[in-house]
Each structure stands twice: as C-alpha cells, then as structure tokens.
C-alpha cells in the first residue's frame, strides 16, 4: 500500500510528534526522572550496605528502568487514546507498522535518556567505577536493551491502550516478556561495572542476547501492532 519512503516519513513524523509533546509537557524531566531517582534512593534504604549496593547496582539500574518504563509507556498511549488520535491515524489509512516504528523510536529516545540518568545515579550514589572499555560496553548495552524494550513496550502498550483497567494490565503483560532483557542487560552491565569481579569481556554474549531480542520484537512488533490496536 505504501512505499518504503512513505512509511519512513510517517514513522519519523510520529516520532517527532511524540517527542514534541514530551518536550512541551516536560513530563519525563519533571515527573518520571525524579520517580526513577527516588527508586534508586529507596533501594539504598532497603539494602543498607555499601558493599551490597555496589554488587547489585546493575540489577537495580534495570529494575528502576523497567518500573519507570511502565509509566512512560502509559503516558505515550494516554496521549493517543485521550482524543482518539490513534483511531484518526488508522482511519486516515496510515500504515500501522509505520506508527509502531515511530512510537518505538520516540520511546527509545526517552528510555535512553532515562537509563543514562540511572547509570549516572548508580555511579554517584552506589560508588560504581568503570574503566573506559567498561563505559563503552555500558553504552552498547543501553542501546541494544533500549531498542528491545521500546519495541515490546510499544507493542503491549498499544494493546492495553484505550481499555478499561489498562493501568493494571500493562505490567502484567509486559514484565514477563521483558524478563530476557532484564537478565541479559543486568549481566552485561555487571561486566561493564565490574561488579562481583566480572570481566568486561564476559558482557558481550549477553549483549548478543539483547540484540536478538531487539530484532525479533522489532520485526514481530511491526507485523502484530496493526491487528492488536485495530478496533
């Protein structure tokens, strides 16, 4: 129906629209980022020991990412379903896979910013130290994990959007699916941080797992998004 070029343009338009809305409302900066930071502080209260914090910092960073992601996804789809914008796009005959890619891109940008903040918090609050190679590995981990998370998040967020009780449904659907990302990203970040004596080289196989996950859900998501949100 639509050529590749058209689809690309729609995807970028959707992504730009989402990021503009975000930029104007500043929800991410004013509400989600403080929420993520307070999670990190609360973890420190719960695990009241500096040695432990340093050891489990990678897992905590990713848990905080997952929890904040739920808030961000609900926000991006609340924007769509509030005035029936998703329906309007669909009635206009816009390719759903382009909408999926666009929304995933916008989510990727927001998630990546959030993760950078969380890693920074871990460095400052939990006393994590990284080598230069470790830092590079951490960035690659963040990027691959973010692609996977954003694709899955957009897919299931679209399903839960516009339904009664979506606030409670989204975590139930999403958290089991992202378990592989939590496992892979935590191990890769452990290698990057050197927590528990892990070597930087141990991280790369886990990044491969993250990449496989990202590719699978990017492809499947662009196919399945249409039928899932189509009412």
């Amino acid at each position: 129906m639509s050529t590749f070029e058209q689809r690309r343009r729609v995807a970028f338009a959707v992504a730009r629209k989402d990021l503009t809305i975000e930029w104007n409302s500043r929800i991410l900066v004013n509400q989600v980022a403080p929420f993520a930071a307070i999670i990190m502080v609360l973890f420190a209260f719960a695990l009241d020991n500096e040695g432990i914090l340093q050891r489990v910092a990678p897992g905590l960073v990713w848990l905080a990412t997952l929890f904040s992601m739920l808030v961000v996804i609900q926000r991006t789809f609340a924007v769509e379903s509030a005035d029936g914008a998703l329906d309007a796009l669909r009635v206009a005959g816009v390719d759903p896979s382009a909408i999926f890619i666009g929304k995933s891109l916008a989510l990727m940008v927001q998630l990546f910013a959030l993760e950078l903040l969380l890693v920074g918090t871990a460095v400052v609050l939990y006393g994590v130290e990284m080598s230069l190679v470790g830092f590079a590995e951490a960035i690659v981990t963040l990027l691959t994990a973010t692609v996977g998370l954003a694709c899955v998040g957009t897919l299931y967020g679209g399903l839960a959007a516009g339904a009664r009780g979506r606030e409670t449904l989204l975590p139930l659907l999403l958290l089991p699916v992202v378990a592989p990302v939590l496992i892979g990203a935590t191990r890769a970040t452990e290698a990057a941080f050197g927590s528990g004596g892990a070597q930087v080289s141990e991280g790369w196989p886990w990044i491969l797992l993250l990449a496989v996950f990202a590719v699978i859900f990017a492809v499947v998501g662009s196919v399945a998004f249409g039928p899932l949100v189509d009412e």
């Binding site: 897919l155 399903l159 339904a163 009664r164 009780g165 449904l169 139930l172 659907l173 089991p176 699916v177 378990a179 592989p180 496992i183 892979g184 191990r187 797992l209 996950f213 699978i216 499947v220 399945a224 039928p227 899932l228 189509d230 009412e231």
Partner: protein, 248 residues
C-alpha cells in the same frame, strides 16, 4: 437428572455424558492405582505418589496452551473467522491456567519432600512460573471488553506472541542459570527407576487427565458460546430500546 434428559438443558449432550462418566471412572481407578496399588519408589520413596497427579496436570496444561495457540492461528487464518475457534482458544487457555497452577503447587509439595525445599531456581520451574503469569495476562486481555470480534483478534494475536515469548524466556532463564551452578537437583529426576506398575499408573494418569481435559474444554466452549449469545441479546435489546425512544 431425569428432567434434564427429557428437555436437554445446559451444556451437556449424550456424548459428553458418556465422556464424563468415563472420566470419573478412570479418575477413581487412577486414585486406586496411585495411592494404593503402586509401590514406593526406590529413590523417591512415597513422594512419587504425587507424580501421578503432578505430571498429568502439567501435561494437560501443555496440551491446553498448544490448543490455544493452534485455535488462535486457525481463527486468524480462516476466511470466515468463526468465533468458535476463539472460544475454543479461550476455554483451553482457562483450563491451562488452572492446571499449570495445580502442577506448580503439587510440584512444590513434591520438591519439599524430595529436595527439602519448596522451590529451586531451576530453568524449568522458572519458565513454568512465567507460563502461568503469561496466560493469566491472556485471560485478562480476553476480559477487556469490546465486541466479540475485537476480543477474538486481540487475544489470538496475543496467544501467538506468547508462543514466541515462551521459548525466549526459557532460553534466557537457562543461560541465567548456567552461570549460577547451584541448582542441579532438578536433574535428579532422570535416574528414577520405574517398575512396570508405576509406569502404567503414570501413563494411565495421562490418559484420564486427557479425557478430563476434553470434557472440560467442550463444556467450557459451549458455556462461552452461551455467554456470547446472551451478550448479543443484551445488545439487541439496547438497540431496540433506543429505536423506540427515537420513535416516541
């Protein structure tokens, strides 16, 4: 009972009644086999008796989830998109959730006797727990509302996504476990020596639970069909009421 036969009411027919009687009889025989006749296992002791209900339950759960996926695929690919496939998928999903829950609980009771602990972070156990949560989500999506066609398509796509997700989760949990070589107890089950009667009891359990599954899924599909029909009727009545309002 007699009046029910005279004017057929409910979701039963003559065939399902025969199936039901067969199921009850084989369940009773399974209880005798498992609790009385079969011997204790050399390694597991009497705790092997839990296996006669635990293994068939997880077996039924696998059949049920397989059926959910197959019926969802048939629904999406068939030209007329008959809702009967959607209802079979939903009925099987519901039964699968029930049996996975039963097998998780009986399994942890068995684990307590054999391993001394209710739970180990073994890959198979962990993925089974994920299976349970995933299909709870599937059932929740079925209850989201909207038209029956919306429900059918949404849940069918979700069921196919679950088929993709489960191997991924299982694979990554196995990778995760391979780094933490603490829980190898689960492989202890492979060197269990089984005599003929034990093997027969286990096999008989699989057959009788399969009969049970068939009986349940047929009845549940029919009661789901009635639920859909009643909802349609409520919708028709509402439209009729609106029309009368408009006329007057």
């Amino acid at each position: 009972m007699n009046s029910a036969v005279a004017s057929p009411r409910g979701t039963g027919t003559r065939n399902t009644r025969i199936l039901g009687i067969l199921t009850i009889a084989s369940m009773a025989f399974l209880a005798l086999l498992g609790l009385v006749f079969s011997a204790e296992d050399r390694d597991q002791g009497s705790s092997v008796r839990i296996m006669y209900v635990h293994v068939p339950s997880i077996w039924v759960a696998y059949i049920a989830f397989g059926m959910t996926a197959a019926c969802s695929a048939i629904y999406l690919s068939s030209r007329n998109r008959s809702l009967i496939w959607d209802r079979f998928a939903g009925a099987a999903g519901e039964i699968g959730v029930l049996f996975v829950a039963v097998s998780l609980v009986t399994g942890s009771l068995w684990g307590r006797l054999s391993w001394g602990t209710y739970w180990v972070w073994d890959a198979r156990l962990t993925s089974t727990a994920f299976l349970f949560i995933t299909y709870l989500g599937y059932l929740a999506v079925r209850r989201l509302g909207g038209t029956h066609r919306q429900r059918a398509r949404r849940s069918a796509v979700l069921a196919l996504l679950a088929i993709l997700e489960i191997p991924l989760v299982h694979f990554s949990v196995r990778l995760w476990r391979s780094l933490h070589q603490e829980a190898t107890v689960a492989t202890g089950g492979t060197d269990v020596h089984m005599d003929g009667l034990m093997l027969f009891s286990l096999f008989f359990g699989l057959i009788s639970f399969t009969l049970l599954f068939l009986w349940l899924v047929i009845h549940r599909q029919r009661s789901l069909a009635l639920e859909d029909a009643m909802e349609n009727r409520g919708l028709d009545a509402a439209i009729e009421a609106r029309r009368e309002e408009a006329v007057s």
